[in-house]
């Protein structure tokens, strides 16, 4: 009955919002609204030249709050409708940094205690006489858990005189103007995919203990999601979880930082290059991205990973100086095709993996020790060829076939090789283009890859289209053999670098294994050259060459062995059983292709600390492996409103299940499971 009465009162209150008479100050049920000016008297002469501040202030009942321009998941920002004499202008509300107000799974942005809304008033150019009446119809929503709309007519008359006189509130207003004037940080890079939005900002200072980004537009991010960040080389990278709405072209907001010096705010402003959001139309932004991809491709030519291969190409091309223009042109086109098609293949693979739900980055294939090993072999074998150890024409640019008419296939292969070795390198401009490619529709993404390829091939394409340029190069001669042999050394160095990469991935054992393979391969070449006797020679050489490939087999196996398998397999019955017997149950949704899942497992779940914690508390750990489709797990995910992994849920022996955050640390696990 009591509740009924209360509801009735609330209903009545909302039906008939207390419309107060115009005054400087109006007290309502949950707020007191007031309007104050920077000046108690204003100079009529200078008025037109200098705008001044007024403050719309809400003093809020304890426990209640009002909202920022982006109210968060619910609520409404105050609105002010001014009624001013002709020629007088009122600006938009200048906001103070808001606070976060979490409500279960929701979050609001706003103010408690007192909310200040600064508005700049611009008097007419011709000046003022008599007095300046300022009237405003203000309406705002004030909420505790329940929300009440309130409104008021406020008015304030500022007398006009010979001089301006600061009002009693002038100091307060100055201070508020200060706290609202924030240093601006331009977003240098903004990339988004289906689920996240990553910002990069220049940032001077120590690593913040904590930060939060308030977007100016509602619905763009999940307000309650964690905002993991990283600070490196004065660049702050923050990852936001996307909300339901598209990321606006001009993403703006506030950055709140907490560090040893306390709490600080910055305005963050849109990047210069308009970002491309997940389903952005292919527009001007897209052409800019293509252009930066092309520029990135050209610069890639000078990158250390591509340079050795390109020197070969330069060598091959200088040999052609004497040949027909048509021939050279065809050769240049074949090389370009090799580069562009290889880029498209890599791009296609990129997109396929993306469809599979995994997050990949540029050079992702280098994460595979097998691919790295294959490149080591390739560079080593080419190096041997250049050194003159064997004369098998590999057509990679140094071989004889380049001087023959079928040279186009060699040029094509050079293009493919250049692409392969180029991938671990990133040139300026490329990062933006690739970041954007990740978020573009398939056709657009492939366009970006093609533009990159075109850029990489461009210098040679230019040479072949204008063969006159070629004639400026030194004439072919015996020096070329010397140069060819010299070029073997950059190849070996590139192989050493890749071995180092492999060593990082697979340890010293993997590196030693591959080195042994290379020695065995050299043996095969030696047998080929030294042992006489037709078929026997061929069979022996091929056999030894095959043996030299054994590191691939071992590395491939090693990759599988690394998959962890902690926890019982998923089934809803198991969860019920364990709970029935009074045990807590921790269920984690994972998949082999889910990078975040694997990180969380390595960082938190598979650590001795967490394993001991689970054992100590007698918590049954159930692994819901979603690597392959599994309807039972899909249903379980849906119970929590998810349709993807990771998902971490703790079912206490009694009570509601607890959903853990997407990014885990041992501390988070312990806290949530306690």
């Amino acid at each position: 009955m009591n509740r009924w009465f209360l509801s009735l009162c609330l209903m009545l209150a909302a039906l008939m919002p207390l419309r107060a008479l115009a005054a400087e100050r109006v007290a309502l049920e949950h707020t007191t609204a007031s309007l104050v000016s920077e000046y108690s008297q204003i100079d009529g002469q200078i008025a037109g030249k200098s705008p001044f501040w007024v403050l719309f202030r809400l003093d809020i009942q304890e426990g209640w709050h009002t909202y920022w321009i982006n109210p968060g998941d619910s609520g409404l920002a105050p609105s002010l409708e001014w009624d001013l004499p002709e020629g007088v202008q009122a600006g938009e509300i200048v906001w103070q940094p808001p606070h976060r107000q979490p409500f279960g799974p929701l979050m609001n942005y706003g103010y408690s205690d007192v909310a200040y809304h600064l508005v700049q008033i611009t008097p007419p150019k011709e000046g003022l006489k008599g007095s300046l009446p300022l009237k405003v119809s203000a309406s705002w929503l004030v909420c505790e858990e329940e929300c009440i709309p309130e409104e008021a007519e406020l008015s304030l008359t500022v007398p006009v005189g010979e001089v301006s006189v600061a009002s009693a509130q002038s100091e307060d207003i100055k201070r508020l103007v200060q706290t609202a004037s924030l240093e601006a940080l331009p977003i240098t890079e903004l990339t988004s995919d289906e689920t996240s939005l990553t910002l990069r900002l220049p940032y001077q200072g120590a690593r913040p203990q904590d930060l939060y980004i308030y977007p100016r537009e509602a619905g763009v991010i999940e307000t309650v999601a964690a905002q993991p960040f990283d600070l490196k080389d004065n660049v702050l990278t923050v990852r936001l979880t996307r909300g339901m709405l598209e990321v606006p072209d001009a993403f703006e907001g506030l950055l709140e930082v907490r560090d040893a010096d306390g709490l600080r705010h910055y305005v963050i402003t849109a990047p210069d290059v308009s970002p491309v959001s997940a389903s952005a139309d292919v527009g001007t932004g897209f052409w800019l991205i293509l252009l930066s991809a092309f520029a990135g491709g050209i610069i890639l030519n000078a990158m250390p990973c591509v340079f050795p291969v390109l020197s070969l190409k330069a060598l091959a091309i200088s040999r052609k100086a004497g040949q027909g223009d048509a021939h050279i042109r065809r050769d240049g086109l074949a090389y370009t095709a090799g580069v562009v098609i290889s880029f498209l293949l890599i791009g296609g693979l990129f997109l396929l993996i993306r469809v599979g739900g995994d997050a990949v980055g540029w050079g992702f294939h280098m994460q595979s020790p097998l691919v790295v090993t294959a490149l080591i072999y390739l560079l080593f074998v080419i190096g041997l060829n250049l050194s003159g150890l064997y004369d098998i024409t590999l057509s990679f640019g140094g071989g004889q076939s380049l001087t023959q008419t079928d040279g186009w296939s060699g040029s094509f292969a050079t293009g493919a090789l250049a692409t392969l070795v180029a991938t671990p390198c990133t040139a300026p401009f490329m990062a933006t283009a690739l970041g954007a490619a990740l978020t573009l529709p398939a056709i657009g993404a492939l366009g970006v890859f093609a533009a990159l390829g075109l850029g990489l091939a461009f210098p040679f394409l230019l040479l072949s289209v204008f063969p006159a340029l070629l004639r400026k190069l030194p004439k072919p001669g015996p020096w070329m053999e010397t140069f060819r042999q010299f070029l073997a050394f950059p190849m070996y160095l590139a192989a050493v670098w890749l071995l180092w990469v492999l060593g990082q991935q697979g340890g010293i054992n993997a590196a030693a294994l591959v080195l042994t393979g290379l020695v065995v391969f050299t043996l095969a070449v030696w047998v080929w050259r030294r042992v006489s006797g037709g078929k026997v020679r061929v069979v022996m050489a091929v056999l030894i060459a095959l043996v030299s490939l054994f590191p691939f087999v071992i590395l491939a196996r090693g990759g599988e062995a690394q998959v962890e398998n902690t926890g019982t397999a998923f089934s809803t019955d198991r969860i019920e059983q364990a709970r029935a017997s009074g045990e807590g149950v921790f269920v984690y949704g994972t998949a082999a292709w889910c990078i975040t899942c694997k990180v969380n497992e390595r960082v938190a779940l598979d650590t001795a600390e967490v394993e001991a914690f689970m054992a100590e508390r007698n918590i049954t750990v159930i692994r819901a492996d979603w690597t392959n489709a599994d309807p039972a797990i899909t249903d379980w995910l849906a119970q929590f409103g998810r349709n993807g992994v990771p998902l971490y849920v703790y079912y206490p022996p009694s009570g509601e299940p607890v959903v853990l955050p997407q990014v885990l640390t041992p501390a988070i696990v312990r806290e949530k499971l306690s």
Binding site: M11, A14, L15, D73, S74, G75, L76, F103, G104, P105, L106, N108, L141, E145, E146, C147, I148, P149, D193, T195, S196, T198, G219, E222, P228, D230, T241, G243, M244, L245, E246, G357, A359, V360, G361, Q367, Q504, Q505, G506, G507, Q562, A591, W593, C594, I595, T596, C597, K598, R602, V603, A638, F640, G641, R642, N643, G644, V645, P646, E656, V663
Partner: protein
């Protein structure tokens, strides 16, 4: 191998920070509408599965929220409910206010409230534990969802374009919700398919 594993995990961490976790959002237009089974105020169980083949509209409601009050008591929402149920749409009003919170009414009282606000929905459902609201990622009351005949969510968002609890704004606002229902009835994709809902937050149970 321990050392290399750490390196791999650091690499993975960097990749995860750089490229984001694989999480997909529930209740994005274009995805399957989450299944549910809820009781209506008469105790009848209504499941989404049983409504396949029909266009389903959901309005999340809390009759005591000022925004819902405006849309109900101005007659705006009851008129939409009447108009579209006449066209064969199944309209569900879902109440997720937890016991003890604003907008909570036991089924019998809720029936009286329905009469008071002239609710003309096909069913008025109660979701007192807020589970369905969470599955739909519903944030506010009112909030409108439109599900097509195949069970695919086609619209999630605000009832109209002007966040306000004042009836004067109704005439000026773009009726996003009604436009979306019209589009889905015509077999088209609504545009916009998602908008920022406005209103009171859903009164979930204290956790």
């Amino acid at each position: 191998m321990k050392y290399s594993r750490r390196l791999v995990s650091v690499g993975l961490m960097a990749a995860a920070i750089g490229f984001g976790p694989y999480i997909a959002h529930a209740a994005r237009p274009g995805t399957a509408a989450p299944a549910f089974s809820l009781k209506d105020v008469d105790g009848k169980t209504v499941t989404l599965a049983s409504l396949k083949g029909k266009v389903v509209v959901i309005d999340w409601a809390n009759y005591q929220c000022p925004f819902d009050k405006m849309h109900y008591e101005s007659g705006n929402l009851p008129a939409l409910q009447k108009k579209y149920t006449d066209k064969g749409v199944v309209w569900l009003t879902i109440h997720s206010s937890a016991p003890g919170k604003q907008g909570y009414h036991a089924p019998a009282d809720m029936k009286k409230e329905n009469v008071r606000v002239k609710n003309a929905a096909t069913y008025v459902l109660t979701d007192y534990d807020g589970k369905v609201a969470r599955a739909y990622d519903a944030k506010t009351t009112p909030q409108i969802y439109v599900i097509d005949k195949a069970g695919v969510l086609q619209y999630n968002g605000a009832i109209d374009s002007i966040p306000s609890a004042k009836a004067e704004t109704l005439a000026k606002a773009v009726p996003h919700g009604a436009n979306a229902i019209d589009a889905v009835l015509a077999g088209k994709k609504p545009s916009p398919a998602a908008t920022q809902p406005y209103g009171c937050n859903i009164k979930f149970p204290d956790s």
